[in-house]
């Protein structure tokens, strides 16, 4: 009897301890040093902060509330107010970026949800609540680069040439840089290739033959550096006519129940008007017959 009691007690204590532990010892942000000092590829400008604000209001404010207002959701752990000086002093640009990029627990990761630029814009917006944050005049870490693209219609090949500006301001061939090729789609860009530039600075791909284009087979290709941190946002768009033509039917051009006035289904028009005309013809006939009553007086 006694030993059983003790076992139960012991089990109970262990469970309670386990609970307390699991509540209090939530995970900690583990931020590598090099990330902490990481700088955005661009200077923070008021323009970018504005973009960041709208992204923040869309994606973050539902949990975090408005920076500095303390109106965040009461989750466990709390999302926290990102505008406090306590948060700002302990989080560099790099850490904020890392946290929203990686996420943790109920803080979702935005790695694949937001574009690189948007992530930086949100970071700028959050950091703009730091009094020491410099909005303009920051040095860009990336070098000045240039991309030129030529196309080979017969082989359906695209060839990009990468160059960069050296210290003396001369354009030099850029070797071994990853060049990414995308086709522009309705929602986002479709990757069609990733090629390193050769010693002459060239990266070449063959356009895939299963890409849908517009009605004439045109498609817009976007070529840019994969490592935007190192080479910047240099990008070239080129329209090629190698895609498969796709004809989109506009349903509004057909006759439908839900179409507009001029595209009513024929069967409906016939039914409606023949019934209306038929019924009213009878009504008018009756009205006309009433005038005959007088004539029939003699019969």
């Amino acid at each position: 009897m006694n030993s059983k009691k003790i076992t139960y007690k012991g089990l109970g204590i262990v469970t309670i301890l386990f609970f307390i532990f699991s509540i209090s010892a939530s995970a900690q942000w583990n931020i590598p040093d090099n990330v902490k000092n990481k700088k955005a590829p661009q200077d923070a400008t008021y323009e970018l902060i504005k973009t960041g604000k709208s992204v923040y209001n869309n994606k973050c404010s539902s949990c975090h509330g408005h920076p500095g207002k303390g109106d965040f959701l009461k989750l466990n752990p709390v999302p926290g107010d990102l505008g406090t000086s306590d948060f700002q002093n302990n989080n560099t640009e790099g850490s904020v970026f890392f946290k929203l990029d990686e996420g943790m627990g109920s803080m979702p990761s935005f790695k694949n949800q937001l574009s690189e630029t948007d992530k930086w814009c949100v970071t700028f917006y959050i950091k703009s609540f730091d009094d020491n944050f410099v909005v303009k005049g920051k040095k860009s870490t990336s070098i000045k680069t240039n991309l030129t693209v030529s196309s080979d219609n017969k082989a359906k090949k695209l060839k990009a040439k990468a160059e960069f500006e050296d210290k003396d301001g001369n354009m030099k061939v850029l070797k071994g840089a990853d060049v990414a090729f995308f086709v522009k789609r309705y929602f986002g860009n479709l990757s069609i290739g990733n090629v390193k530039t050769d010693e002459n600075g060239y990266a070449e791909i063959v356009f895939p033959d299963d890409i849908a284009g517009d009605s004439t087979g045109n498609a817009e290709v976007i070529i840019k550096f994969k490592d935007t941190d190192a080479y910047g946002n240099t990008a070239v768009t080129k329209t090629v006519s190698w895609a498969n033509p796709v004809h989109y039917e506009n349903p509004l051009n057909e006759r439908h129940m839900w179409g507009n006035r001029s595209s009513a289904p024929i069967w409906l028009l016939i039914t409606y008007f023949s019934v209306v005309i038929g019924v009213w013809a009878v009504i008018l006939w009756v009205v006309f017959q009433i005038t005959r009553i007088k004539k029939l007086a003699k019969e």
Binding site: I293, A297, E299
Partner: protein
């Protein structure tokens, strides 16, 4: 040769004419009644002027519950108007004789309520000045366009179906009403269209009535089916039903039947026509009502048991609202008090006597009015996309004084039309009653001096 089993057989033409024209001359209790209706109407007109000035904001209708008392009254009016078709067309065509003294009453109700149904729709419009847009810009695909088309058509046929059987009565009126105002005599003269009671004229008028009686059946079915489609053609809980057409039509017969019973009672006592609208007629109408209500009851079972058994996720809040929620009291009062109890009561012969019939009919009619309310409003409270970020008042609906006043004006208006018609023309076809009493055309022509 089925002769009507009248309590007092063998009325002379003289008695018939004087019995039926006397109510047109004696205005006993007429003035207070007209004043009463006019007062209600003036109140409504005042409310409508304010609604025109300030917009539909004076009603309780908002973004979500955007159909309210007006639209439910509209269905009620259309429903009431449908009885004209059932009694004078369907029963008339299959040769039921006992409807002769009440057919015109049904037709008067049809004209009055169909006319006002069209107006009630306009009361629901924020910009009634743009009503004509419907004809110029309307889409043939839209049930609203169909509805306006059939309402207008039904009003036209109903007026003709009221007018045509009136023509052979005109010579009697010309003769009996010589002591009345000049304009009335002139009107009787014009409306006789030269009727002298010749063989050919009788043949023609009977033919025309027959044609219209046949025509009005599909049109009447169409008017109420299309009215139900205004609801059923939308993807909403409670409206998304394939039986809405017949459900509405049978419901309409119940409504109109109750209205006819009430009118029968008033006319037989107030117009002193108890020899014409007898216990026999009340008994027949009572039986007809039982039949109609049983069919309607059957449709109600289908309309509520089938979705109620499945309880689809989206329909659940709506159905619970009706069965045990906010609308439960109204729902069960309407279903039990306005349908089930009347059916049971009317099974007993005693209950089909005039006074009990009247009381039951009033309960049925009130039930019918609120049934339309229950069909319209609760559905709008349960849209498929949740109601979000709107003021609290947008979630609920209870008609404002403006809406009640304007609706009462419409009811008073329809009753006023019936009253005026009943005061200008006999409420029963003199010639048909005479025919049933075995009086020949020659005798009638002799009486009117058209020989």
């Amino acid at each position: 040769m089925s002769k009507v089993k009248n309590k007092e057989p063998g009325k002379s033409l003289n008695t018939i004419v004087s019995d039926l024209t006397k109510p047109l001359k004696t205005h006993y209790g007429f003035t207070p009644w007209i004043l009463f209706l006019t007062a209600i109407m003036l109140l409504g007109i005042g409310a409508y002027i304010i609604q025109l000035r300030d917009g539909l904001g004076v009603t309780a209708m908002r973004d979500y519950i955007s159909w309210g008392l007006y639209i439910s009254s509209f269905i009620f009016f259309i429903a009431t108007a449908l009885i004209g078709m059932l009694i004078s067309a369907v029963l008339g065509l299959i040769g039921i004789k006992w409807i002769t003294p009440i057919a015109r009453i049904a037709e008067m109700i049809a004209v009055g309520f169909a006319l006002w149904a069209g107006l009630v729709i306009i009361f629901d419009m924020g910009r009634p000045d743009r009503f004509w847009h419907l004809f110029v810009y309307g889409r043939v695909q839209s049930p609203i366009v169909w509805d306006v088309t059939v309402v207008i058509t039904y009003v036209a046929i109903s007026i003709l179906l009221y007018l045509l059987p009136l023509i052979p009565d005109m010579p009697f009126l010309k003769k009996a009403m010589t002591d009345q105002a000049k304009w009335k005599q002139k009107m009787y003269h014009i409306l006789s269209f030269g009727w002298v009671g010749s063989e050919g004229q009788y043949k023609l008028i009977k033919r025309l009535i027959r044609v219209l009686a046949v025509l009005i059946i599909p049109v009447a079915l169409a008017i109420h089916t299309v009215t139900s489609w205004l609801f059923a053609m939308t993807l909403r809980v409670g409206w998304d039903s394939t039986i809405f057409g017949p459900y509405y039509v049978t419901g309409a017969f119940v409504t109109g039947g109750a209205a006819v019973v009430i009118a029968m009672f008033i006319f037989s006592t107030d117009f002193r026509l108890k020899n014409y609208i007898t216990h026999f007629h009340f008994d027949k109408m009572g039986r007809l009502m039982v039949l109609l209500m049983l069919v309607y009851f059957y449709f109600n079972i289908n309309e509520f048991l089938v979705p109620g058994y499945k309880m689809k996720l989206l329909e659940k809040p709506h159905l619970y609202g009706l069965f045990q929620g906010d609308f439960a009291l109204m729902f069960w009062l309407v279903q039990i008090g306005g349908m089930i109890i009347p059916i049971i009561l009317l099974l007993f012969k005693k209950m089909r006597k005039p006074l009990p019939s009247l009381i039951i009919a009033i309960a049925v009619l009130i039930g019918a009015f609120f049934k339309r309310y229950i069909i319209t409003i609760p559905t709008l409270m349960h849209p498929h996309l949740p109601i979000q970020n709107v003021p609290a008042e947008f979630h609920t609906y209870w008609p404002t004084t403006f809406e009640w006043s304007i609706t009462m004006m419409a009811i008073a208006g329809a009753v006023l039309v019936v009253t005026i018609l009943a005061k200008l023309f006999p409420i029963m076809p003199i010639w048909e009653i005479a025919h049933e009493e075995g009086i020949t055309n020659e005798e009638m022509n002799e009486f009117t001096g058209n020989n």
